[in-house]
Amino acid sequence: MRLSFFGATTLAAMLSINSVSAFADTKEITIWSWNIAAASLKTTLEGFNKLNPDIKVIVEDLGNQQVYDKTLALCAAGGEDLPDIVQFENFEAEMFWNRFPDCFTNLKELGYTSEIQAKFPDFKRVELEVGDVAYAMPWDSGPVAVFYRRDFYEKAGVDPATIKTWDDFIAAGKKVATANPGVVMAQADFNGDSEWFRMISNEQACGFFSGDGQSITINEPGCVSALDKIKQMKDAGILTAGNWNEKLQSSAGGTVASQLYGAWYEGSIRSNIPALSGKWGVYLMPSITSDGVHAANIGGSALAISNGSKNKEAAWTYLNYALGSDEAQISMLKGFGLVPSLLSSVKQPFVEETQPYWGGQKVWSDILATLPKIVPSRGTAFQSDADGIYKAVQTKYFAGGYPDAKAALDDAAQQIAVATGLPIAQ
């Protein structure tokens, strides 16, 4: 570099001075993200840098829990040293705005106009905005589906189209296990998560808290039937324990026949287990009764800009491209199965295409058709408290600590009331 600079002609010298000054203008922004979400952000960079060559985006994959923990600790310490952009899961996000209202920037001051806001569905925005302040921009949502091994089901003579209720699912699970020794029907993270309960209770229009976030609803009938059904599945032996990594290991190792998760799991299966291409398929989640909605949401994220960022404008430019353009949204859907919240993106032609990995199934049009049926569910600022209590109650219930699911969730509601000060809905 140096040698060529000294040996160059005046013109070349001027050119290199130009490139130096261009380098000085280059802005660098850093994003904290996790797993396939981080991988999918990287797919947007090529398109973004064509439009904005002077903004360099660095995506750091810290893992889900690490992003939450580090962000919370840094916000508590005054917000220094945060990256420019942080990923939040919607249902965990409210706690941050509630406890640290100055940790993140009001995106409206950067150009997040009401026209842009209107491009996103309300259920994705409700947890991200407090009054007039918009702390984060919606990214993806997680319409729930069952991902299943076609070959395992076929061998057992199970047609997924006939699985309408969770009882059907249990019956099918027993057949699958008999026909495929060493294979279990499905896995749930009984060790550290509450995902099955959150998915099935959301399907039954129930959640930890009411829609306005002002009362506790975890002991209402929809939630009770969800917990009851999960225990039945566990007792029937068709649902065994596995955390995030173990689920992927079992899926790759061929010891599990199905996984229930948000649509973003599509990308995890496809990118982690390329060898099983063509062997997987997707069907809609069963319900308590066959005429149920067969739709729920789990996960789904948003991006926020920290108040300590030195390049807020550049960060906003990236946000508006990655989350607000069909081009970027479709590249993330294609790459890693992140379902766009951006309303216009779900009508793009790619959605109607058959997917070779999924045995030629049009998985996206199947999964996205459930979006309008999803009942919004509110995480609230007390999500972490409620989730911790629920998990303890679930473990105790499985071990026989309560006579029935209703008694278990009544106790959970009482404990959440003690921890949060919120009333139990009457």
């Binding site: 919370l72 406890r99 060790n191």
Partner: protein, 286 residues
């Protein structure tokens, strides 16, 4: 003030300043915080939300119970094992003593994150070597991470694996300080090896064993990394949540600093009580 004192305090000032800012102030600040509801802006005085909650919170009693279970089961098991290991290591019949001593001590040297990851793999439900071994001798696979008693046993196994060798080395040094001629005299008097162990070795080792017990109790009270990493944040559903982890969850997952501070003070009081108990037992030993 006398010039000498002034000069002395002048030299002490940098330390005192750091001590005041980083020790005294946090202790006072967290005490004040333990009476505040820190989940509203601005924080308000409301001991009912912190101290009041502590005494009716089942999750707190659960964490206390788990810590006590580990204390009561793991510490005696580990110290017994460590004593047996030390006696075996001290045996004149043993070859390659250096190698064995190193092997027993090695677990402490391994990084906590690495050993936690290896334990998670070994005890994996479908693919772990432990379940494969159990199956091969006809015992059904154990769901180590999702059943509370299994997870608690796993935690105790892991902590014991990590620290038994360390304690064995300390006890070994105690064994080596017991003069040989005591045993020689006993052997001449035809005292059996077992009786020698019970009536000579154990009484002479007592101060060392008490020291190991005290260290282990303090360690168990502060147990954090193993339930955090091996049983995934005290899982299943708080089944292995210790006091340290409970404090962390309240402070850094629910961002409830006031409540976390009241838990911290409760832990400090418990530690003082247990230390007093230890001192009382130690005094009796004289």
């Amino acid at each position: 003030m006398h010039l000498r004192y002034r000069a002395a305090y002048g030299f002490l000032a940098p330390y005192l300043l750091i001590f005041a800012v980083f020790w005294i102030w946090p202790i006072i600040s967290s005490f004040i915080m333990s009476f505040q509801n820190t989940r509203v802006n601005p924080w308000v005085f409301n001991p009912g939300a912190t101290w009041g909650r502590l005494f009716i919170d089942p999750a707190f009693y659960n964490a206390l119970k788990n810590t006590m279970i580990i204390l009561v089961i793991q510490v005696p098991v580990m110290i017994t094992l460590a004593t047996i290991m030390a006696v075996l290591l001290n045996s004149p019949l043993l070859k390659a003593k250096g190698l064995f001593r190193f092997a027993f001590f090695a677990p402490v040297v391994v990084g906590e994150v690495a050993y936690a990851a290896v334990f998670r793999l070994m005890f994996n439900l479908d693919f772990g070597i432990i379940n494969k071994l159990l199956l091969s001798i006809g015992i059904p696979a154990v769901s180590w991470f999702s059943e509370t008693p299994a997870a608690m046993s796993l935690l105790i196994i892991a902590v014991t694996w990590r620290w038994a060798g360390y304690n064995a080395i300390i006890i070994l040094s105690g064994l080596q300080s017991i003069p040989e001629d005591v045993y020689e005299a006993a052997t001449l008097d035809r005292v059996s090896k077992v009786k020698q162990f019970i009536h000579i070795t154990l009484p002479l080792l007592k101060p060392i064993i008490v020291f190991c017990v005290v260290l282990s109790i303090i360690g168990s009270m502060q147990l954090f990394i193993e339930p955090m990493l091996i049983t995934n944040r005290g899982g299943p559903g708080g089944g292995t949540e210790t006091l340290g982890l409970f404090l962390y969850r309240q402070g850094f997952a629910s961002s409830n600093f006031g409540y976390a501070s009241s838990i911290a003070y409760t832990m400090a009081v418990l530690a003082i009580l247990i230390s007093l108990l230890n001192m009382w037992i130690g005094r009796e030993a004289k």
